[in-house]
């Protein structure tokens, strides 16, 4: 998997993570187990899980996932999320 920086967002460190195709379902199950069930928006065909200091948002296909950090988001928050997504820098 890889990630790409997304410009002009809520936080300068905003990335889209491109999951491996066969890992998408399991990744969202892990996200839901850790941060709560995804909220779905049927009109935009998007879903998201809301963690205390960031949000993980994607289309209903679940891939790629955009991580929108709040300003208070810590390196530890991101480290944990990366472990959960299976992303290594």
């Amino acid at each position: 998997m890889h990630r790409e920086r997304v410009p002009a967002c809520v936080h300068p460190e905003t990335y889209k993570y491109f999951l491996e195709r066969d890992a998408v379902l399991a990744t969202w199950e892990r996200l839901a187990a850790r941060y709560g069930a995804p909220r779905r928006d049927p009109s935009f065909r998007t879903m998201e899980v809301v963690a205390p200091r960031f949000r993980v948002r994607a289309t209903l296909l679940g891939n790629p996932v955009t991580v929108l950090r709040q300003r208070a988001c810590t390196p530890a928050d991101i480290e944990e999320l990366h472990a959960l997504l299976g992303y290594r820098e």
């Binding site: 997304v6 809520v10 935009f44 998007t46 949000r55 994607a58």
Partner: protein, 403 residues
């Protein structure tokens, strides 16, 4: 004390499909993002020889004194008025203010659209950035206690503080005693146009109404932090009266220095950057990927989709009348700038719609340009040919690539 449901009901949004206007407690609100709000603030506060900070604070005070009065009820007790002031601020997307220590003359804010906007859009700040909030709090204190006060931010998260802190100073501001915020005085504006205009350029691929319905269907209200992270940017519902009064006030103050044209150029430039940045953020967002990207086959489709979104945000009731990769023409029959100018100043002698003029160039630079935002900036020139504020039936914008 009124219940939370009652207060939320008073602040429910009403949408008017004929003009795309959104109304909350008697005020038309326009949705802009942190890029535009931060840049506009920087322009006003950075202009030499005028008091841009004072203009922002006094306008916010005047507009929100009116807004809170309209949302209030004669039977509201003090606790209700206090809760209403906190709730309106949060629901509009400006952040969280805590009025619990108002009696001590202290207000704190744990989140702020303006701090987020400044840091994300413009980088670190040397000074406190919550000027708008100072004005809002002056209005809130007036709504709650009936006293005209001066509010000053003493610490700001934009400079690393844990929360923004404000002190409430009673008594006089400057030399003249103030009894109440300046009234938000307007005259009859422009009637809602009976005809839609056109003909407009459409695309068989892009379902503009589906886009508008989806955007209007999102509850654009602040989250637990009073912020609205949507389309990967922070949005806020700003009363049109605020934008119109600060922009008119800015241009008039600059006119006094012989710099009226420079003022309009600055306002257009902010909007041009906004057009590029806001929609660049939006075009990379999951919302775009989910609903809009499947409709977009070419760049013209992207442009039509962008204009549809901007209509749903309340910017202008504007539509494309002609379009090539190097040129664009748009018609707006009920833009908030033109309508607002008529309400505040009557008929204008020159076109007044700086925001739409700049955005028209910015979206062309985004869709057809290459490179960074700065590479693209200025590669299209936009001109407002005629304006509703001058008595014309529509504002007409033409954009051409700069050769």
């Amino acid at each position: 004390m009124a219940t939370g449901d009652d207060l939320e009901g008073r602040l429910a949004m009403q949408y008017e499909p004929a003009t795309y206007r959104r109304r909350i407690a008697g005020h038309d609100v326009i949705i802009h993002c942190h890029h535009y709000n931060a840049r506009l603030q920087r322009t006003l506060e950075g202009a030499r020889g005028i008091d841009g900070k004072g203009l922002i604070a006094s306008t916010a005070e005047s507009v929100f004194a009116d807004h809170l009065a309209r949302a209030g009820r004669p039977e509201d007790d003090e606790a209700t008025r206090l809760a209403l002031a906190e709730l309106l601020y949060a629901r509009l997307g400006f952040g969280r203010i805590d009025l619990g220590r108002l009696a001590e003359g202290v207000v704190t804010a744990s989140s702020s659209h303006f701090v987020e906007g400044w840091l994300a859009g413009l980088g670190q700040s040397e000074r406190n950035v919550c000027t708008f909030t100072e004005g809002y709090l002056q209005a809130a204190v007036f709504a709650v206690l009936g006293a005209a006060v001066t509010v000053r931010e003493t610490e700001c998260m934009a400079r690393g503080a844990a929360c923004c802190s404000f002190v409430v100073e009673r008594g006089e501001r400057g030399s003249s005693p103030r009894i109440a915020p300046a009234p938000n005085r307007k005259q009859a504006g422009v009637p809602v146009p009976a005809e839609r205009g056109g003909p407009f350029v459409r695309s068989a691929n892009v379902d503009e109404q589906a886009i508008i319905d989806a955007v209007v269907g999102i509850p654009m209200v602040g989250d637990a932090a009073g912020l609205i992270p949507a389309f990967s940017v922070y949005l806020a519902n700003m009363p049109a009266d605020f934008y119109n009064q600060v922009c008119i006030g800015f241009v008039e103050a600059m006119r006094g220095l012989g710099r009226e044209k420079a003022a309009m150029r600055l306002l257009v430039s902010d909007a041009e950057h906004c057009g590029m940045n806001t929609f660049r953020g939006i075009m990379h967002s999951p919302e775009w990927d989910g609903l809009i990207a499947p409709m977009v086959r070419d760049r013209a489709d992207a442009l039509i989709a962008i204009i549809a979104i901007s209509n749903a945000l309340g910017w202008g009731d504007w539509h494309i009348t002609a379009h090539t990769p190097t040129s664009l023409a748009l018609e707006s029959r009920y833009g908030y700038e033109a309508v607002g100018f008529r309400e505040y100043r009557g008929e204008a002698s020159t076109p007044q719609c700086a925001m739409l003029t700049g955005v028209a160039a910015g979206v062309m630079e985004l869709v057809y340009g290459e490179g960074t935002v700065e590479d693209r900036y200025g590669t299209f020139a936009s001109h407002e040919e005629s304006c509703v504020s001058c008595g014309a039936p529509a504002c007409i914008f033409t954009v051409e690539r700069v050769e």
